[in-house]
């Protein structure tokens, strides 16, 4: 994502916890900084994308965090899928330095990032959104300002709730087809293009059928995302039983040692629940 900005001619300063992961970017003319705070001290717009909300807190609000180095009028943009309340907290901390904050989680995966085709869901003030929009346009394709701080994260939660239910449906339906002795390729011909059709069915069912559980998106990150959504549901006082069930099934999958597989590995947890061993080509190689 950062490389797209560099290639578009922007001066880029970079910090990563593992410096080698920035080597390609440094070779392309980016400057190295020793801390997130140091990045912010040299930048008009600061992007962060890390793993968990606790990492966001450290990288943005910690003693060497970016917010402490923000210049007046600058914008910090957190693209991690994280807690909507934390996004509000970051905006408040940025405003103490006369700076702005946006929450801007993405969907589209590794491929979307590489091909600059991400969907970017943005929360924060209109003025900050307009300032950063030309940069978003270099790394994403669908860029929507969803509302005030936290609205980007909330929108990403909507996305993940949809994916959670969709994966349960895909994996349960394939288990049913398997147990009924159907030919799964023929079944997909019948069901893929009608009312049962989905991105998950088209893109992940074929991988499940050949036992390919390599990660597009890690189980452990999905468990984190659903946990955030469930925390928000409790806070907002709504019960989403389907999301809660999907979360528990993924926790079980993680408990089975599969946290570093892709989300389509849910098939393994569902099969094991019924004492069935699903043919798995790539588990040893990736877990």
């Amino acid at each position: 994502m950062c490389m797209h900005l560099r290639r578009a001619g922007h001066a880029v300063t970079v910090y990563t916890r593992t410096r080698e992961r920035a080597s390609e970017l440094l070779d392309a003319g980016a400057q190295w900084a020793d801390s997130p705070r140091s990045v912010a001290e040299q930048s008009d717009v600061v992007f962060s994308i890390v793993g968990f909300p606790r990492d966001v807190r450290e990288v943005l609000l910690g003693s060497q965090g970016a917010v402490g180095g923000l210049r007046p009028g600058s914008v910090v943009v957190d693209m991690t899928t994280s807690n909507p309340q934390l996004a509000v907290e970051i905006e408040e901390a940025a405003s103490m330095r006369q700076a702005f904050a946006l929450d801007a989680p993405v969907s589209g995966g590794d491929i979307g990032a590489r091909e600059a085709r991400l969907s970017i869901m943005v929360g924060g003030t209109e003025i900050a959104f307009q300032a950063v929009e030309p940069l978003f346009a270099k790394i994403g394709k669908t860029i929507v300002h969803q509302g005030k701080a936290g609205a980007g994260q909330h929108t990403k939660m909507v996305n993940q709730i949809l994916i959670a239910a969709g994966m349960v449906g895909v994996c349960e339906s394939l288990l049913y087809a398997h147990q009924a002795g159907l030919n799964p390729e023929l079944v997909l011909q019948s069901v893929s293009t009608g009312a049962a059709g989905s991105w998950s069915l088209t893109n992940l069912a074929p991988r499940i059928l050949r036992g390919d559980f390599n990660p597009g998106f890690f189980v452990e990150h999905f468990v984190k995302d659903m946990g955030i959504a469930l925390d928000e549901c409790r806070r907002m006082q709504i019960a989403l039983p389907g999301l809660a069930l999907a979360h528990q099934l993924y926790v079980a999958l993680q408990a089975q040692g599969h946290g570093r597989l892709g989300t389509q590995a849910l098939e393994l947890a569902l099969a094991s629940l019924s004492g069935i061993t699903w043919p798995s080509a790539n588990i040893t190689a990736t877990s």
Copy 2:
């Protein structure tokens, strides 16, 4: 569906429980018969499509049922979404009369039937499938022979398992968006075309948002379908917790008096579960 066959020049004999519902077909030159058995006595291929498995049993295996009138070499084709075991039973009964049977449930809804764009999922012998395939081609678009008797019904169950989970995801995600104060149209812009995308999201979410719960597909028929799938799961010894949850939520929706609304009305049950009243434009008109 029958009208497509008539328009293609086939001689059609028709029986319905409510004769007025056949009037358009009779005006187009179809012959009336007084029972399913009488239809079979005058036909090479007999199609049935009714509501519930008990109706299939009556219309095909009852004293005035079609199977009793089957001519040697003829084919009875049940297009009801029904029990896979019942499809096997029908094939056995047909074979006693030197006749054939196919189970051929469809997806695509009223519109798919009208436009001859149904997906037809067929179980039965190859010879019977080949005999009827030219007729299927007049009423459907995606026609796949899935395997022996019951395989069509099993494939339809796969389809319904996918839809069940998808509807839970769509309705839960819209409830989340509502409670988080998001603009749902903007949210759909961000999530519809990526990994969260599905037919249900594209086609039913807009109806839910405008409170349109008119039936494309009746809640009470969907409850029946999921019940069949769960019976089969118990018989085949697999646990599908997502399907079981969806079934229970739809039973609740039915208990609330909404069995004759469309499946997208699941939003009402989910909202009521959290004490939220969902704006509903058309409930009085349709339930």
